[in-house]
Amino acid sequence: MLEKFTVIRGRAVPLRGEDIDTDRIIPARFMKSLTFEGLGQYLFYDERFDEKGNPKPHPLNDPRYQGATILVVESGFGSGSSREHAPQAIKRAGFRAIIGESFAEIFFGNATAIGLPCVSLAPEDLGVLFRKVEENPALEVEIDLVNKEVRFGERVAPLFLREEAREALVEGLWDPIGELLEAGELLDAFDRKLPYPRRAE
C-alpha cells in the first residue's frame, strides 16, 4: 500500500535560484552507482562543499534548517538531465515535498513517481514564503493537497498541482506500476499491432 499524501507539515529550507538544473542537484560523478542508496549525502554537493570537502555557506548546511522536510525553490527547478538520482537524493536527504514556482517536466514526473510532491505557488505567495522562512527558520509550513493550499503563519496560499498528479498523491496511486500491469493481455494486442525494429536477414 502506498502512502497517501494529504497534509504534509514541517519546517522548510529556502533555496534561492532560478533554473536550478539536475547537475547541480546531484553532480554526475555521484551517479556512478548501481543503486540510489546513500545519494542524500551528495545533494547539492558542489554548492555545499569546496573542492577539499569543507562546507560552504549554504542553506542546507545552516544548522537553523536542520531537520527541515520541505524544500522551497524558485522557478524552472530540476531542468536538464532526466536523472531520477536528483529527486532520489532530495528524498533520501529527508525531504518530503518541494514548493516552487515551476518545475521541469521530467523532474516533476520522476519526483511524483517516487512520492515526492512538487507543488507550485503564485510568485507573490512564493516570495512571501521565502521571506518568512528566511526570517523564521522554525516556521511551520503545511501543504494541504486535499484543499489545495499551503498554509504558513497567517497566510493561506492556493497551491497549483496538475490534477492527475494531485489525485495520484492523495489516493496513494503515485507509483503507477500496479495499474500499468493491470492492462495485462491488452498489452499483447498493442505489441502485435505496433511495428518494432526487425533485422532483415
Binding site: 554526475a28 556512478k32 543503486t35 531542468s79 532526466s82 531520477e84 489525485e167 503507477p176 492492462a183 498489452l187
Partner: protein
C-alpha cells in the same frame, strides 16, 4: 480539423486511461544505457517481474566509457561495475546489447538512428533527456526517469500526460557557416529554457525542410534545453532516404508499406497548434553561450548583455552566470581565451559534423596550449571517419582522436575539465560543474565554431578563421 503528428502518434499508442486521468502509453522502442538502468533492473527483481517484450529494447554503454584507453577492467572500478551490470542485465533478460567493440557501440542517440532502430510514428523512451533527438524522424521520443525505465521494462508502457504542441517555423536559407546548432541555440535564446514546459516542439518551415537528418537530430536533441520534453520534425523524403537500407529498417515490400504508414503520421495541413512561433534563418548568426544555461546565448559578434538590458526576471541568473564565468557585462564574447576544445556528444558527434569540420580544419593547427579532443558518436562513425581520412585531418591539426562515448559532455568518465578551465564545446549543457570540475566553464557552439576556437585559442568566428562566405 486536422491533427498534428504528436496527436496521431499519441492516439495510436494510448492503451487506456488511468484512474488518475493520465494515459497508459505504449512505447514502441526502449533504449537503455548503463547509468539509469541498473536501479530499474533492481526494482524489477524486487517485484519479481520480467522484461515483457525484450524485442523492443536495445542497449548500449556510453556515459561511463573511457575514450582514451578502453582496456578492461577500466581504471575506475565503479565504471567497470556499471558496464558489467548492464551486460548481466541484458543477457539475463534477452535484450540486444551493443557492447564495446561490437562495431555498433556508441552514444545511444547516435546509434538508434544510425542502425535504423529509430523510425517515424514510433514512441521512443530512454532514461536520458536527449531522447528528444529521435524526434528528427517524426517519432515522439522523450527522456524518462529510472522508475519509468522499470515501468517500460515490465509493461512496455508509461503513465503519461498529453502535451500541448508548439509549431516552431524557421524560414529561409541559413548563411554559410551557420548550422542547426546555431538555429537551436537561437530558438532557446528567444523562447527561454522554460519556454517549452508543457509543450512538444514541432519544427518546420523551409529551413528545417532543407536540413539533412543529422541537422534535424541536432535541432531536436536540444529541445529539452528549451524546456520541451519532446521535439520532432515531420517525416519526409529526406527521412526515408536516410533510413533506407539501415540494418533495422524495414526491407522489400515492408519498406514500401512502412513509407505509406509513416507519411500518414505527418501533421495535417489544417492541424491546429496550441502556439506557433516563426524565426527567420537570415537573422541567425553563429551563436554561442556566455552563461550557465543554454538560453544565455548571443551571436558571435555580440556582447555579453548588461544586466539592465535583460528582463528583470532574468537578472539574478545572469548575475550568477557572470560571477561564475568571470565575464564582464558588455564584454564581447569573441576573443575570450579557451583552454579546452571538445567536439562530441549526442548533439554533434555524427559523421556529417566531423566531415564538415574536417573540410575547413585541413591545413590549420590547434593553438599551442589548447587541449583539443574529438570524440566520435559511435564505433561506426569512428570507423567511417578513419576510412575517409577525417581522423587524420583532426590529428594533424592537433586534436586528440578518441574512442566513442559521452566523454566530457558530462564527465562520468576520465575526460573532464580541471579547475576553472574554459571549454569551447559542441555539447548541449553549460551548467555549472557540468564538465566535471565544480569551477569548469562551458561555452556551447557548433562543432565548426569549436574548431575555430581551438585554432584561434579563443572564442572566434569560424567564418573569419576559415574564410567562409567571402
Amino acid at each position: 480539423m486536422g491533427k498534428t503528428l504528436y496527436e496521431k502518434v499519441w492516439e495510436a499508442h494510448e492503451v487506456r486511461k488511468l484512474r488518475n486521468g493520465q494515459s497508459q502509453l505504449f512505447i514502441d522502442l526502449h533504449l537503455l544505457h548503463e547509468v539509469t538502468s541498473p536501479q530499474a533492473f533492481g526494482m524489477l527483481r524486487d517485484l519479481g517481474l520480467r522484461v515483457r517484450y525484450p524485442h523492443r529494447t536495445f542497449a548500449t554503454v556510453d556515459h561511463i566509457v573511457p575514450t582514451h584507453d578502453r582496456t578492461e577492467p577500466f581504471q575506475d572500478p565503479l565504471a567497470q561495475s556499471m558496464l558489467e551490470a548492464l551486460r548481466k542485465n541484458t543477457r539475463e533478460h534477452g535484450i540486444p546489447f551493443f557492447d564495446l567493440g561490437s562495431g555498433n557501440q556508441g552514444i545511444v542517440h547516435v546509434i538508434g538512428p544510425q542502425l535504423g532502430l529509430t523510425q517515424p510514428g514510433m514512441t521512443i523512451a530512454c532514461g536520458d533527456s536527449h531522447t528528444s533527438t529521435h524526434g528528427a524522424f517524426g517519432a515522439v521520443a522523450f527522456g524518462i526517469g529510472t522508475s519509468q525505465v522499470r515501468d517500460v521494462l515490465a509493461t512496455q508502457t508509461l503513465a503519461a500526460k498529453r502535451l500541448k504542441v508548439r509549431r516552431i517555423q524557421v524560414e529561409g536559407r541559413l548563411a554559410p557557416g551557420v548550422y542547426a546548432k546555431d538555429v537551436i541555440l537561437h530558438i532557446i535564446r528567444h523562447l527561454g529554457v522554460k519556454g517549452g514546459l508543457g509543450y512538444a516542439y514541432e519544427y518546420g518551415g523551409s529551413t528545417v525542410e532543407a536540413m539533412d537528418m543529422e541537422s534535424r537530430m541536432t535541432l531536436c536533441n536540444m529541445s529539452i534545453e528549451g524546456g520541451a520534453r519532446v521535439g520532432y520534425v515531420n517525416p519526409d523524403a529526406t527521412t526515408f532516404q536516410y533510413l533506407e537500407g539501415r540494418p533495422y529498417a524495414p526491407k522489400g515490400a515492408e519498406w514500401e508499406e512502412a513509407k505509406k504508414r509513416w507519411l500518414a503520421f505527418r501533421s495535417d495541413p489544417d492541424a491546429s497548434y496550441d502556439d506557433v512561433v516563426t524565426f527567420l534563418a537570415e537573422e541567425i548568426a553563429p551563436t554561442v553561450t556566455w552563461g550557465i544555461t543554454p538560453g544565455q546565448a548571443i551571436p558571435i559578434d555580440g556582447r555579453i548583455p548588461l544586466l539592465e538590458e535583460l528582463p528583470e526576471e532574468e537578472r539574478p541568473v545572469a548575475e550568477e552566470a557572470l560571477a561564475y564565468m568571470g565575464f564582464r557585462p558588455g564584454q564581447p564574447i569573441k576573443g575570450v581565451p579557451v583552454q579546452v576544445a571538445f567536439i562530441g556528444s549526442c548533439t554533434n558527434a555524427r559523421l556529417s559534423d566531423l566531415r564538415e569540420v574536417a573540410r575547413y580544419l585541413k591545413g590549420h593547427k590547434v593553438k599551442k596550449g589548447v587541449r583539443a579532443l574529438v570524440v566520435p558518436g559511435s564505433e561506426w562513425v569512428a570507423k567511417k571517419a578513419e576510412e575517409e581520412g577525417i581522423a587524420e585531418v583532426f590529428q594533424e591539426a592537433g586534436f586528440a582522436w578518441r574512442m566513442p562515448g559521452c566523454s566530457m559532455c558530462l564527465a562520468m568518465n576520465p575526460d573532464r575539465l580541471e579547475g576553472d578551465e574554459l571549454c569551447a564545446s559542441s555539447s548541449n549543457r553549460n551548467y555549472k560543474g557540468r564538465m566535471g570540475s565544480p569551477r569548469g566553464r562551458t561555452v556551447l557552439m557548433s562543432p565548426l565554431m569549436v574548431a575555430a576556437a581551438a585554432v584561434a585559442g579563443e572564442i572566434a568566428d569560424a567564418r573569419e578563421v576559415f574564410g567562409i562566405g567571402r
